[in-house]
């Protein structure tokens, strides 16, 4: 399969010398965006040139997504655009707003990967069909027709880093036998025959990326492409982006992940409250990489109950096994045990698709097809629909794909405040007041809260979701990758809030890929792979001297930046892991083949 894709690898057809010449493909001049009286963007200038990567960074809510959408001639409801955006010489936005040429540019010259890909995948269509369709749409495949397009689509999936995983099939990765020589064609096809709901959050992210790639555009606009990716996958992504740039793609990268920006983009535009605060070489614009993570919490003394094993367990999961289908078919979690002590913080880490979300949903009672025991403060905890109000309040969950969890018909505040009304019996005005207070601590203004979800930025919404859970004053808070859309400042606000909670005795189960943050927050870490716990223990110990292969791999790819351009292929390959030091024999899924480094490279 990989061989077949060689010539048709996205970006591999060497279109560098295209009629657009070497000049900038995307030119943004004086772009402004207004919603009512608010100014979301104010005179933004930006250029994207083929063969280079440009980063657009800035705090959450600074207008990155708005700017990126403007490149496509789009704006959120009620948002008016003005200024000039030209793509490939075609005016996409002029002073009257979006221009007629926009439709012509989309997909062909410019492909956009949205910030919340879960929403962007058609639930009724197999991913492969859509990819093939996109590939055929924008590229003449001549006689090879359908099969060539299919191969191209498969290539796009590879490039996006999505490889078959055992999640939906109920077999572990542990055996590893069949993965040794790469993915079989049948497995690739099976992967492409899956529906979007059959993927984990991080995998969906990559499907969305693959869709953008399948169009074979000249410029890729990627909105937070690394959310939901484990460190290994993120490293691969960085490598892949670099390669795409080398192949002549233009890349506009919207990200909070400074390490990724440093690794990929030589030029950066910094946005702040809708204005361009700085433009220039990445090293100049971004603050220097932190030598060691700031530890606003770890520097403080730990509250006594959080002291590891001696603490009272707030929530215990015992031998949790979870299935996807009825009749105990399609297992995704195998005999997982987790204990979250009162006031403690347990981090769950693992490659994308390893079952973290399923675990979290089991704890929240949302995933009903599970076996094993859940115990909350000494009492057995049933599934959500059998929980008492007290028990519901006891365990709160913050969604990974937060956009979907908000109702489009009510304002954010209305929805958020209901937690306090229902679970704590507060009158509505007071609940709203409390919600506003917590939101304020997380950096959200009351005005933002009274908007609809569609009118908030990704990061803002993520924090609103946290507010929703916090209003319950839960005993256990389950956070599923809740800082992926946040900049450093906002992250600090969130971690501070978590710390405050823990002081009050709330236990936290933290799911995240950002190991620095995990190290900073958690006492204990549990490493999941393919639905099983491969390692668990004190956070610092595990991160300092990992015993499992999975942990080691994750840690090795941890640092990503100018000084570590990409993960050397050898380091990733299965043979590089000494067999005796990888007890459960787990490799991250991304490991199972390395299309990136092999035949995929376009042969000039």
């Amino acid at each position: 399969m990989t061989g077949a894709t060689g010539r048709e690898q996205p970006g591999g057809d060497g279109r560098v010398g295209s009629p657009y010449g070497p000049g900038p493909l995307v030119e943004v001049r004086g772009l402004t965006a207004r919603a009512g009286t608010a100014t979301l963007l104010d005179g933004v200038d930006l250029t994207v040139t083929p063969g280079t990567a440009t980063a657009l960074v800035g705090p959450s809510g600074s207008g990155k997504t708005t700017a990126a959408l403007a490149l496509l001639g789009e704006a959120a409801p009620g948002v008016r655009l003005a200024g000039s955006v030209r793509v490939g010489g075609v005016a996409v936005v002029d002073d009257d707003g979006p221009a007629a040429g926009a439709a012509d540019v989309r997909g062909r010259l410019l492909a956009y990967m949205p910030q919340h890909p879960a929403h962007a995948l058609n639930p009724a269509r197999r991913i492969g069909a859509v990819l093939t369709e996109l590939a055929r749409l924008h590229r003449p495949f001549g006689t090879g027709g359908r099969s060539a397009a299919e191969a191209y689509a498969a290539g796009a999936l590879h490039t996006a880093g999505l490889t078959p995983d055992p999640g939906g099939k109920g077999k572990g990765m542990d055996g590893g036998g069949e993965q040794g020589g790469g993915v079989s064609a049948a497995e690739g096809r099976a992967l492409r025959r899956r529906f979007p709901h059959q993927f984990s959050g991080g995998q969906r992210q990559r499907v969305a990326l693959a869709q953008a790639l399948a169009c074979g555009p000249r410029v890729l606009v990627l909105d937070e492409p690394s959310t939901g990716l484990d460190t290994v996958a993120r490293a691969r992504l960085a490598g892949q982006l670099n390669r795409l740039v080398a192949d002549g793609f233009g890349v506009l990268l919207l990200s909070h992940d400074h390490d990724l920006v440093r690794a990929v983009a030589p030029r950066t535009v910094l946005l702040d409250r809708g204005r361009v605060a700085a433009t220039g070489a990445t090293a100049d614009v971004l603050p220097p990489p932190r030598p060691a993570p700031q530890r606003p919490y770890a520097d403080r003394p730990l509250p006594p109950p959080a002291a590891g094993d001696t603490a009272v367990p707030a929530l215990v999961a015992h031998g949790l096994t979870a299935w996807l289908r009825t009749g105990r078919r399609g297992a995704v979690l195998h005999d997982v045990s987790v204990t979250v002590p009162e006031g403690g913080c347990v981090a769950v880490v693992g490659p994308s698709g390893s079952g973290k979300t399923v675990l979290a949903r089991c704890l929240a009672g949302l995933h009903e097809r599970h076996g094993g025991r859940l115990v909350l403060r000494g009492e057995p905890l049933p599934v959500l629909r059998r929980r008492t109000a007290r028990q519901i309040r006891g365990v709160q969950y913050v969604w990974q794909e937060v956009r979907g969890s908000f109702d489009e018909r009510r304002t954010v505040l209305e929805q958020v405040a209901r937690t306090a009304v229902r679970l704590r019996g507060l009158p509505a005005p007071e609940a709203a007041e409390r919600a506003r207070r917590i939101a304020e601590r997380l950096g959200l203004t009351p005005a933002q809260l009274t908007r609809y979800a569609a009118e908030l930025s990704g990061g803002e919404l993520q924090r609103a979701a946290l507010v929703r859970a916090l209003l319950a004053e839960p005993d256990v808070l389950v956070c599923d990758e809740i800082t992926t859309a946040l900049d450093a400042t906002a992250t600090a606000l969130v971690t501070a809030e978590i710390a405050r909670l823990r002081e009050r005795g709330t236990a936290v189960l933290w799911i995240g890929h950002d190991l620095a943050l995990v190290e900073e927050l958690a006492d204990t870490v549990v490493i999941l792979d393919a639905g099983s716990v491969v390692e668990a223990g004190n956070c610092r110990t595990v991160l300092a001297s990992p015993r499992s292969g999975t942990a080691r791999l994750l840690l090795r790819s941890r640092r990503l930046g100018a000084e570590v351009p990409a993960v050397p292929p050898e380091a990733e390959s299965p043979e590089a892991v000494p067999p005796e030091t990888a007890p459960p024999e787990v490799r991250p899924p991304s490991e199972t083949d390395s299309p990136v480094h092999r035949e995929d490279r376009p042969q000039p």
Binding site: A111, N122, E133, H197, R325, T326
Partner: protein, 314 residues
Amino acid sequence: MLRYTLRRCAWTVVQLAVLAVVVFALTNLLPGDAATVDFNEQAGLEQVAELRAQMGLDRPWGERLLDWAYGVAHGDLGTSLVGGGPVSGVLAASIGVTATLAAVTLLLLVPLATAVGLLTGLRAGGRTDRAVSAVTLTLTSVPDFVLALLLVAFFSLRLGWLPSTWVGVDGAWWERPELFVLPVAVLLARTVCTLSRQVRAGTIAALHSGWAVQARRLGVPRGRLVLRHVLPNAAVPGVQELARTGDQLLGGVLVVEAVFAIPGTATALVEAVQNRDVPTVQGLALALAAVACLLNLGADLVTRRLAPRTEVLR
């Protein structure tokens, strides 16, 4: 999928069994019986009693039902109380026309309703939408027999283009497509609206979803977006409605059969009800119910494919 299909099939059998009992009970609840009806206006009560005994209607109903069920289990739908012929004969003689009529209507209905639904859904609120919606709605709101009378008055009596009824058409109806034009037109008028409005609603909802917008961002042209991306999602309520349309069609077919004097199953069923011909009612109802069940089964399977996410839940 296979497990699901099997489960649904088993359920269909249960449905049909329960239905047979319900139909039997309902028909027996009707005032009068085949004997009274048969001698209406012609004979006295003694003769009626004599006939009743001859038809075996004086036996307890449980016995009659069991007899019938035994027959059905052995592939025998029973004997008509009125004509004296086998019920399967009544069915065989009438099903062809009705099935053809329904099939032709469905063949035209599905693309037409889809097209209308998409068109109005895509232009929701626009002038086209309003105009087309108003027309289809008006067509559904005019009783089908009035519509049929008007069509006949215009196309048959005034213009003389099409036959006004099937009176005198014996066999070989399939060689005369012009016979179908007006009946199918009436049936379509009745159903297009219902279905197209479901597709319209589905389309509007689907067009709003994130993935539709994303597909557009990736340069999927409008036509393709609508057909390949929006339609599969928009079709879910439509497919369910379509299954139900089968039944609606039957109701429409009845009126159409009456107006155009088409010798179909619907007429046979109503006539059997009027004759209190319980075995025939049951046989026909069972056959029609089986078709309805099949349609529903199909609709469920298609829905499952179109909304695959539900599999996780159920």
